[in-house]
């Protein structure tokens, strides 16, 4: 326990050191090359812009909007991806029939579809949520499909023997077996969801962090753009941490191990 806490602390320190190093080098290069703020602003400029936006309250509604979209999209797309993953994982037939459509829905660049989505769904939050959902649908689908396929034969035989229904076998055997993999998909989905929401806002949004980036680009306010990118990154990290926390909670019984056997 003690060793672990030490590792944890020292790794945080290293992580922060790395961040600081990057920032210092960046600040220094920006000064040395005398790049225009329009091309690559120094971190100090970005931080000033960030602080101004936060303290003036300018950023908050945009953050709220994006967060709303991400959470709604993630809930919708994640759930749908999980359910479809269960269905397609269960049925080779379904997989053969529907996978082409699933893949098609994913390779279609959302960016190109956005104008049409607004035609169908109107303007506002809905199309962004749909884009976000579309984007985080796939990782959960793929990982659920893979995860629930990992159950070994003997446990499947056990469940058949116990007269488990198909649903029970799925829910009480395949899903717990695949949980680590499914949660890896969730981590990917969380990250993609934010990207999806921001990209949606690039095109059709008049609010949200994505819209803010475009507005910043329009007024050539690169420091503002970087400030918003920083916000997005922070929000992404928070979401990812939340996903890791969920994972830690759910996977607790899987983590049983003992000293001398821990992986590094």
């Amino acid at each position: 326990m003690k060793v672990k806490a030490g590792l944890w602390k020292s790794s945080r320190i290293w992580s922060l050191t790395l961040l600081l190093a990057v920032l210092v080098v960046w600040e220094w290069t920006a000064a040395a090359f005398a790049w225009s703020d329009l091309v690559l602003p120094a971190p100090s400029t970005v931080v000033r812009s960030l602080w101004r936006g936060l303290s003036s309250g300018y950023f908050w509604p945009h953050i709220a909007q994006t967060t709303l979209e991400v959470i709604a999209g993630l809930a919708l797309g994640g759930l749908f991806g999980f359910v479809c993953g269960l269905l397609l994982g269960e049925s080779a037939f379904g997989r053969r029939v529907f996978m082409p459509y699933v893949v098609a829905s994913q390779v279609m660049p959302k960016l190109a579809l956005a104008p049409l989505l607004t035609v169908w769904l109107g303007f506002g939050t809905l199309p962004m949520v749909v884009i976000t959902a579309l984007v985080c649908f796939f990782p959960l689908l793929e990982s659920t499909m893979t995860g629930i396929g990992q159950t070994d034969l003997s446990r499947r035989e056990l469940f058949r023997m116990l007269g488990a229904t198909r649903w029970q076998t799925l829910w009480r055997l395949h899903v717990p077996t695949g949980l680590p993999v499914i949660l890896a998909g969730l981590r990917m989905a969380v990250v993609l969801a934010l990207v999806g929401a921001v990209v949606g806002e690039f095109i059709g949004g008049s609010q949200g962090l994505g819209a803010l980036i475009i507005a910043a680009q329009g007024s050539m306010d690169t420091p503002l753009m970087f400030a918003v990118l920083t916000l997005i990154t922070l929000e992404g990290l928070l979401l990812y941490l939340a996903a890791v926390w969920v994972q830690k909670r759910l996977l607790r019984p899987y983590a049983i191990t003992y000293p001398g056997h821990q992986r590094s």
Binding site: S154, R155, L158, L162, G163, L173, P176, P253, Y254
Partner: protein
Amino acid sequence: MDDVFLSMRQVSYRYPDAPVAVSDVDWLMPAGAFHCLLGRSGCGKSTLLKLASGLLLPEAGSVSLEGQPVCGPSPATGFVFQAPTLLEWLSVLENVLLPVSLQRSPDAADTAHAQALLDELSLETMHDRYPRQLSGGQQSRVAIARALLTQPRLLLMDEPFAALDALTREELQDILLAVCRQHGTSVLFVTHDIAEAVYLADRVAVMNRGRIACEKSIALARPRSPGLRHSTQFNAICASLRQVMDTTQ
């Protein structure tokens, strides 16, 4: 024979790309009987058990249980697999309760029953552990408790005591006999311990290369008691079975 409980007629099975694993097996089991299967490693014992359970369907021949053809596993049949096959994310108690919790949410009586079973199998301090925290023999005892919980009409056991020491094994043999007697359970039991087979069974079959090489009724008094193991009659039966096995393969 109208009191036949389990009947296998001319049953054959072959895994893809492998020689036949079970061929032309005929086997009848009256209700409440205790039958043992002996045989060398790889002779088809586990396969035959899976055929009896409905987990595998025979390529030729037929299996029927209480007159009904078996076309899939039935929850009234208990199965102890050769490996413990526990679910790692459930505690020992939850693993034992699994057969019940797949039917309904386990109540206090179920939990008490499961706990009593675990205690009987000397796992009283292990209820809240996870399977990976158990020794090999403890895991297999959990699997046995799980199979006994639902008091199945037919119990199929594939070397359930293989990972246990002689003492524990003998204790469990007596427990098993008592439990089955009490509930009228029919048991088909695979073992490679001849003495175990003789002690437990009414009837013993020796398998060889997928076929039943020899059947033998065991005419020992019931209920069995540990002292029986030292009787000459017991040892004579063991020796004769041993002789049959020596001629196989």
